[in-house]
Amino acid sequence: MINKQVSDADEAIRDIKDGNTLMLGGFGLCGIPENCIAALVRKGTSQLTCISNNAGVDDFGIGLLLKSRQVKKMISSYVGENAEFERQLLSGELEVELIPQGTLATRCMAAGYGMPAIYTPAGVGTEVAEGKETRNFNGKDYLMEYAFEADFALVKAWKGDTAGNLIFRSTSRNFNPVMAMAGKITIAEVEELVQPGELDPDHIHTPGVYVHRIFQGKEYEKRIEQRTVRSKSETNYVG
């Protein structure tokens, strides 16, 4: 097997440059590459374009990169929950491109599958369709959307091996596998890094061929955005 292991986040992101386009996995704060984001803050790389479903919160996730003014542009589907984001957006310091969540996921997947463009009905007839080619198939209109290009994809998995194979845990999977496939260079941080042979080949979500660098992250905070619970007596889904 080919050994993709690097020592830590700082080594993994060593060649990310000002102005690069990054994909960052995660949904809200769930499954985000915490160690890579921290290393980017340390490195101070700026003028970044970040493709990520969300933009973190004020003091965590991509919010940390926003706070230190490292982000030039966000490409996301939903960016609430972030006052600093709002301030930079309104002041014109930050560019934002909002795209439908399924379109975001599928444009990443398209890159990983070598498909230059895909068709989706999402956004037909709305401002998302402006300037885009619309095409009718079987009586229904679709937009043509291009595959995403990214210099680096930063993803977070639960387990990985040194050959780059990744296994995700629960809904922290989200955008991580599709972004892992799409990066020109894909960097994976994992909670547990094991030797080749320790992961069942049938259970691997992202084959190692898509991963260029891997390291075992540390001190995962895994912050919960909306802690919702029920008491033992409750039967309701939601309070």
Binding site: F27, G28, L29, C30, N53, S77, Y78, V79, G80, E86, L89, L90, L98, I99, P100, Q101, G102, T103, L104, A105, T106, M109, T120, P121, A122, G123, V124, G125, T126, E127, V128, W158, F168, R169, S170, T171, S172, R173, N174, F175, N176, P177, V178, H205, K222, R223, I224, E225, Q226, R227, T228, V229, R230, S231, K232, E234, N236, Y237, V238, G239
Partner: protein, 219 residues
């Protein structure tokens, strides 16, 4: 006139045994509380889960297990996890039987606006544009009139659109309405204590109503 729970309760009656259902944020989330016992329903959460269970018990929250509203949740026996591309793949290929979501405005053509108010901070459309463009069966849970008494069921949406000609059924605090193929709302049921006349006044889009419209049965 219905409160939020009443709207959720009425919508729950549209759910059939064996449905895969996607519930949006807000009132739609409440619908899960009114699914009849014994009915087999699977809830999809578009961040990558089929078989969403209730909130975890205190102390059992798992940061890796959330729904599309970023709330901590649980799985159920038979749940499955998948990535975001597959999640929207199953939405686009119409494997989800019913989508329930909120709206700021719906037009008599079935257009919906629910993501952006000019002049206000825009948070984004999330998965809403994918859901409305793809779902074969959408129910909108919304307020019929705003606080000033103005109708949100309009001849044409005034806000930026989320999707066009996609809404077929609406449940509000006042009524259940269908959107007709040729355009226009058709009054199906009125909320307890609400008159057909009041619904007419409260609907600025074209409304078709029989003289005698039955009251909702919420049980």
């Amino acid at each position: 006139m219905l409160d939020k729970n009443g709207i959720a309760r009425r919508i729950a009656k549209e759910i059939r045994d064996g449905y895969y259902v996607n519930l949006g944020i807000g009132i739609p989330t409440l619908v899960a509380n009114y699914i009849p016992e014994g009915m087999n329903i699977v809830l999809q959460s578009e961040n990558g889960l089929l078989g969403m269970g209730p909130f975890p018990y205190e102390g059992e929250e798992d940061p890796d297990l959330i729904n599309a509203g970023k709330q901590t949740i649980t799985t159920l026996p038979g749940s499955s996890i998948f990535d975001s591309a597959m999640s929207f793949g199953m939405i686009r290929s119409q494997k989800i039987d019913l989508t329930i979501l909120g709206a700021m405005e719906v037009s008599e053509q079935g257009d919906i606006a629910n993501w952006k108010i000019p002049g206000k901070m825009v948070k984004g459309m999330g998965g809403a544009m994918d859901l409305v463009a793809s779902a074969k069966n959408i129910i909108v849970a919304m307020q019929h009139i705003n606080k000033a008494g103005e109708s949100k069921l309009l001849p044409k949406c005034t806000l930026p659109l989320t999707g066009v000609k996609c809404i077929r059924k609406i449940v509000t605090e006042l009524a259940v309405l269908d959107v007709l193929d040729g355009g226009g709302f058709r009054l199906i049921e009125r909320a307890p204590g609400v008159s057909v006349d009041f619904i007419k006044q409260s609907t600025s889009g074209k409304l078709f109503a029989e003289a005698d419209v039955k009251e909702m049965d919420l049980n």
